[in-house]
């Protein structure tokens, strides 16, 4: 059974967002890192870049495939995880902690409304 923390919201494209904490962080789920396998590279945007909800903000790459990363909510990038570049395997080892990807400033809380609850996300990945 995949680890799905209760304090996060999820996109059907397997990103998580810590909407209720400050700063708001974005990463990929345990299920996503398992499906990708050994992560070898992550391409992330420069701080200050603005993205709309659903836009591609980067690429996560494993031995098997390269996958686009999608913004779970509109916002501006405040910071990217500096530890990821030298050690992308952090995402495999700790996808909800040390393996976070972005810190963002969310534009409108209404963007969060249609994200998946932990229960709903669990159902999605079980299908």
């Amino acid at each position: 059974m995949s680890d799905i923390p209760a304090n996060l919201l999820y996109a059907s494209s397997h990103e998580w967002i810590s909407a209720s904490s400050t700063p708001v962080r974005i990463g990929i789920s345990q299920h996503a890192q398992e499906a990708l396998g050994d992560i070898t590279f992550v391409e992330l945007p420069a701080p200050g870049t603005r993205f709309g909800k659903g836009e591609t903000f980067g690429v996560v790459e494993s031995v098997k495939a390269a996958s686009d990363l999608y913004m779970p909510a509109s916002g501006t990038v405040i910071a990217t995880n500096p530890a990821i570049e030298g050690d992308p395997g952090l995402i495999n080892r700790d996808p909800y902690g040390e393996g976070w990807l972005l810190e963002i400033e969310v534009e409108t809380d209404s963007d969060l409304g249609d994200l998946l609850s932990p229960e709903a996300y669990r159902t999605t990945i079980a299908e």
């Binding site: 396998g37 050994d38 070898t40 590279f41 031995v63 098997k64 495939a65 390269a66 495999n92």
Partner: protein, 363 residues
């Protein structure tokens, strides 16, 4: 997964994440592709390759037939030896790459890629006309295991209760007893390491593989290696994978397999005219292997550029955990300056370093 075939050894590989591959449900990875790859280079690993096809060719004219079917020199291959060869169309394009094992004076076993089994058998059947021999698809009679890595000889000898002669020379083959049945062990493999391929009669497969697993050098590791590391190991070693570096559109000469197409063969074979013409006129394209200094992996289909001009494309891409750099293969027009190639990865052009394989031994 519906309608996918399973090898008899899949139940022993329960820790693996499986994917569909050439019509089979096969494990892609057990404890991580990079970890499994390293284990084979440093110690040893066990591969279930029972999905591959095995054809038996027997009869007074089996040797003559195979020597005409294949560019490499099967004629005169001593009993107990194996030979790698492409199988070509009259156009010189590659139908498959395979290994021929001479199991007797008048008996050969041919091992082909799983994805090409039906196509190969149809082609090979057509070519039997006029030859005194029997060609049979015996794939379902055999489980095939590959035990690969520097610790493979030790691992095999240590296998509980199994006593047998182990082939010593590379590309040699010895008969072996598995339970009360006869099989074969060859000193072959596709990882670039020392090791064995074990042809185990299907009824003995689970018992023998269980014993092998128990004898593994590191009991904390799964022992098994999945398709992911199988691909990265062969790519690092510079071995072609059918559908990538070899195809009906890529000749063995273009693929850099000139050594499998001997110039001095004294009999005709299918594809000879086209291959010799290619050699004479100059081989139009070349498959090369490369290393990147970035962390991005160049995937199949990525464009290759020389001075901004499109000159080819990537055929395979992976990550070498030995070099800790992305590696791959490409096909480019001959005559380009190999020292100044670039690959386009998602809009970014990165310099490519063409290297002579094995890539993990390059500087």
């Amino acid at each position: 997964m519906e309608n996918l075939k399973q090898t008899p050894l899949l139940p022993l590989q329960s820790g693996g994440r499986t994917v569909p591959f050439a019509g089979w449900e096969m494990p892609v990875s057990f404890d991580g592709i990079l970890e499994e790859h390293r284990r084979v280079r440093q110690s040893a690993g066990l591969f279930d390759v029972s999905h591959m096809g095995e054809f038996s060719v027997r009869g007074p004219e089996a040797e003559k037939y195979l020597n005409h079917l294949l560019p490499n020199q099967v004629g005169g291959l001593p009993v107990g030896n194996a030979l790698y060869s492409p199988m070509c169309l009259p156009s010189g394009g590659t139908i498959d790459d395979l290994i021929v094992y001479r199991t007797g004076e008048l008996e050969f076993l041919v091992v082909v890629n799983a994805g090409n089994r039906a196509k190969d058998f149809a082609w090979m059947s057509e070519q039997t006309a006029g030859y005194d021999l029997a060609l049979q698809d015996v794939s379902d009679n055999w489980a095939l295991l590959a035990l690969q890595g520097p610790a493979a000889p030790h691992w095999l000898q240590n296998t509980t209760g199994w006593q047998g002669k182990v082939p010593q020379a590379r590309f040699s083959l010895t008969p072996a007893r598995f339970g009360n049945e006869q099989g074969w062990i060859s000193r072959t493999g596709y990882t670039g390491e020392d090791g064995f391929e074990l042809f185990v009669p299907i009824a003995q497969a689970v018992e023998f593989a269980s014993r092998l697993l128990e004898a593994r050098p590191d009991p904390n590791s799964p022992g098994w290696i999945g398709l992911g590391a199988r691909d990265s190991l062969r790519l690092e070693a510079g071995y072609p994978l059918y559908g990538h570096e070899l195809s009906e559109d890529i000749s063995p000469l273009e693929a850099g397999l000139g050594w499998t197409v001997p110039r001095n063969k004294n009999t005709d074979y299918i594809g000879r005219q086209a291959l010799e013409a290619q050699r004479q006129a100059g081989i139009p394209r070349k498959v090369k292997y490369f290393v990147l200094s970035d962390r991005r992996i160049a995937r199949p289909g990525c464009g290759i550029f020389a001075d901004g001009r499109s000159v080819g494309q990537v055929l395979s891409g992976s990550m070498s955990p030995i070099l800790e750099k992305p590696i791959g293969s490409l096909i480019v027009d001959s005559g380009v300056d190999f020292s100044s190639l670039e690959v386009d990865i998602r809009g970014t052009k990165l310099p490519i370093s063409i290297q002579k394989p094995p890539l993990h031994k390059s500087s």
